[in-house]
Amino acid sequence: MDLDKFKVHGEPLIYGAMISIALATIGILVGLTYFKKWGYLWREWLTTVDHKKIGVMYILAALLMLFRGGVDAMMMRLQTAAPEMKFLDAQHYNEVFTTHGLIMILFMAMPFIIGLMNVIVPLQIGARDVAFPRLNAVSFWLFFMGAMLLNISFVIGGSPDAGWSAYFPLASLEFSPTVGNNYYSLALQISGIGTLITGVNFIVTILKMRAPGMKLMKMPMFTWSVLITNVIIVFAFPVLTVALALMMFDRLFGSQFFTMANGGMDMLWANLFWVWGHPEVYIVILPAFGIYSEIIATFSKKNLYGYTSMVFSMLIISLLSFLVWAHHFYTMGQGVMVNSFFSITTMAIAVPTGVKIFNWLFTLRKGRITFTTPMLYTLAFIPIFTIGGVTGVMLAMASADYQYHNTMFLVAHFHYVLIPGAVFAVIAGFHYWFPKVFGFRLNERLGKHSFWWIVISFNVTFFPLFFLGLMGMTRRMYTYSKETGFGPLNMLSFVGAVGLAIGFVLLVYNIYWSTRYMPRDTTSDPWDGRTLEWATHSPMPVYNFAVVPKVQTRDAFWSAKHDKLPLFEDKITKIHMPSNTGKPFILGVIFFFAGFFLVFSMWIPAIVAGVGILIMLAAMSFDRDHGYYISVDEVNATEKKLMRGETV
C-alpha cells in the first residue's frame, strides 16, 4: 500500500485545515458523549424520515457548506487582492476555486433549496409527509455523504483542480494526476443520485398528495416552482450521471471517451457537462423565484399578480434551459449558424424572466409593503438580479461573448445572477419560514444589519469584476503582474468580500442570539401568511395537520382568515405515519466508503462496499414495517397542548 498518495503536501494552510477538521470532529464526538446525546441523535435525526427534520438537516449542511465555500472565496479574493500575492500557490488556488464552485452550487445552493422544499412543500399542499419518506432519507444521506467525500479531499489526497466544469483533457489523468478529479466524479455521482431520487419523490408528492380541492392552478407559487424544478432534475441529472461515469471510466479504467488520442473527444465532455449544467442553474433559481413570489405576496398583503403567466413563464424557462447549453462555449469554433441558434434561445429566456420581474413589481403596486428582513432580501433581489439578467443578455450575444468569455465579466455576471437569484432567496426563505419550524422569529434588527452588510458588500465585491473583465482579466488567474493594472479593482473586490463575510457572520450570530432570547411566537402566523403552511401550529406536530384541509382558493389560508372559508371541516381520525429507520443512514455511510475506495482505486474494499450496498437495498426491500398509527386521543391531546402554546 502506497501511503504517499493519501498525503497532501501543503503549507501551514493545509495543516491548519487538517488540524481544525480533526479538532472539530473530536469536539463533536466528545460533546455528544459528554451530554449523552448519542441516543437522541440516532433516534431523532439519523433515523428520521420526517420531511421537516430532513429539511432542517439539509439546511444545516448547506449552512456549513456555505462557510466552507465562503472561506474558499475569501482565500481567492485575498490571493488576487494585489499583484503577485504569495498567499496561495497555483495548485492550491486551482483547488480552491474548483471546490468553491462545486460546493457553492452543488452542496450549498441545491441542498439549501431542497431543504426548504422538504420543510415547506408538504405543508403548502396540506400533506402529512412526502410520497416516499424513506427514500427522502436516502436522498439526504446520499447528498450528505457525497458532500463529505468532496470535503475530505482537501486533506486526504488533494482536491479537484480542473475547475468546477472539469474540462477534458485538463481533468484527465494525464494533466491532473492527483486523485482530486476522482473525488469529483464520485462525490458528485453519489450526491447526484440523491438529488435524482429527490426529484422523483417531489414530483409524486406534488402531483398525487395535494389536499382535496387544490387543483394544479391553485397551488402556491413555491410549490409550482418546486414541481418544475424537480422535472428539470429528473431530465437533467441522468446526463450528469452518465458524464461522471464516463469521466470515472476514463480516469480509473483507461477508457477513451475524452482522451486526446485513440478516438477520444475532449469537446464531448464540455457538451455533456453543460447539457446538465445549464438546467442546473435553473434548478437553483426557479425555486428562488417561488420563494420570492410567496414573500412579495405576503408582505404587500396582496395576491400574486399574473399567477397564470408566472406559471407559464417558469414552464418556458424550464424548456429553454435544455436548449442553451452551447452558449457556454461559443468560442469552440462551431460556426455562425450554431452560435446564432444558441444566442437566440439564450436571449429568449430573458422574455419569461422579464415577465416575472414585471409581475412582481405589479404585485407590489397597490399593495401595502412592509420591510421585514425576508422582504428586504426580496426587494434587493429585483434590481440586482436585473443587472445579472441584462448582462446575461449581453453575454448571450455570441459575437460579444468572444470578448467576455472566460473573463471576470462572466464571473461578475453569474454572481449577479446566482447570489441574488439563489443565495438571497434561500436567506429570505430561511428568515421567512424560520418561525414555522422553530416557533420563534429571528431578530429583525440583527437581520437588517446583516442584510445591509451583505447587499452593499455584494455589490462592492462583484461590480468591479465587470470592469476587470473588460480590462482583459481572465478568470482563474492565481496571480497577475502590477503592469496589468488589475490591482486596485481587485483590492476593492477583496474589501467587499470582507464585508460579505461580516454580513454572514452576523447572520449566524442572529441565529444564535434569537435562539437564546427571542420570545415564542404564539400565533403560528407571524407574518399574516397566505398559504397552508401557516394554517398549522408552529412548530408543527409530526403529522402536520390534525385534519386534512379542504382548499377552495389559491391563497387558501388567507381566504380562511378573511373570507371565512372553512379549511378544516372533517373530524379527527387516526393518522398513519411512517416509522423511523436507520437503513438510509447506513446505506449512505456505505456509499461514502465505496466512493472513497474507488477514489484511491482500492478495488477489493470497493467491491466489498458495493456488495454492502446491495445487501442494504435488499434489507430495505424485505423490510415489512408499514408504519404506525397515531390514535385520535393522542392527536387530540397534542392539539390541546399546542393550542396552549406548549411544545410537544
Binding site: A131, F132, V204, P238, V239, G254, F257, T259, N262, S621
Partner: protein, 198 residues
Amino acid sequence: MKIDASKPLEYSTEENSNKIFGFWVFLGAEIPLFATLFTVFLVMVDRFASGPNGKELFEIGPVLIETFLLLTSSFTIGLAVHAMRLGYKKAMMVFMALTLLMGLGFIGIEITEFVTYVHEGATLQTSGFLSSLFVLLGTHGAHVSFGFLWGTAIMIQLWRQGINPATANKAFIFSLFWHFLDVVWIFIFSFVYLKGLM
C-alpha cells in the same frame, strides 16, 4: 391503510399507486440516461482509432439469441402479472422464474461476448468506439443483472407472504422495469448491432 377493492391489487392503496407513479417518473429519468449513452455512442461510432469497428467485431448469432431471450422474458413477465391478477401464486412464481432464468441467460451470453471481444483485442481502452460500446452495453447489462437480483428478492417475498398488496405492487413495478429494459435492448439491437453490421 385503506384498501380500495375496486382497483387491481397492485394499485389498491394510496402508497401503492404512488409507488407505481413514482416508478414511471423514475423510468422517465432512465430515458435521458440511456439517450445520453446512445448519443455518446453515436458520436463515437466512427472513432475506432487502431481498433476494430463494429462490422469486424459483431456476430449476429449470439445477439439474436440475446434478443430472443429478452423479448420472450418480457412476454413471460407479462404472463406473471396476469397470473398475479387472477391470484394464481404458483403460476406467477413459475413465470417469474422463467423470466429471471432468461435474464440470466442473457447476461451469460453478454458476458461471453465481452470476453470474446477482449480476446480479440477489443477492450475498453482500445478506442473511443469500444469505450462507448462497452459502457452502453454494460449499463444495460448492469440493469438486467440488478433486475435479476431484485426479481429474486421479490420472488422470495412472494413465496413467503403470498400475493398481497405489497408484493403485488413490487412484482408489478418489477415488470415495468423489465419491459423498459426490453425496449432499451431493441434500440441497442437496431442502433448498435444492426447498424454496425450493415
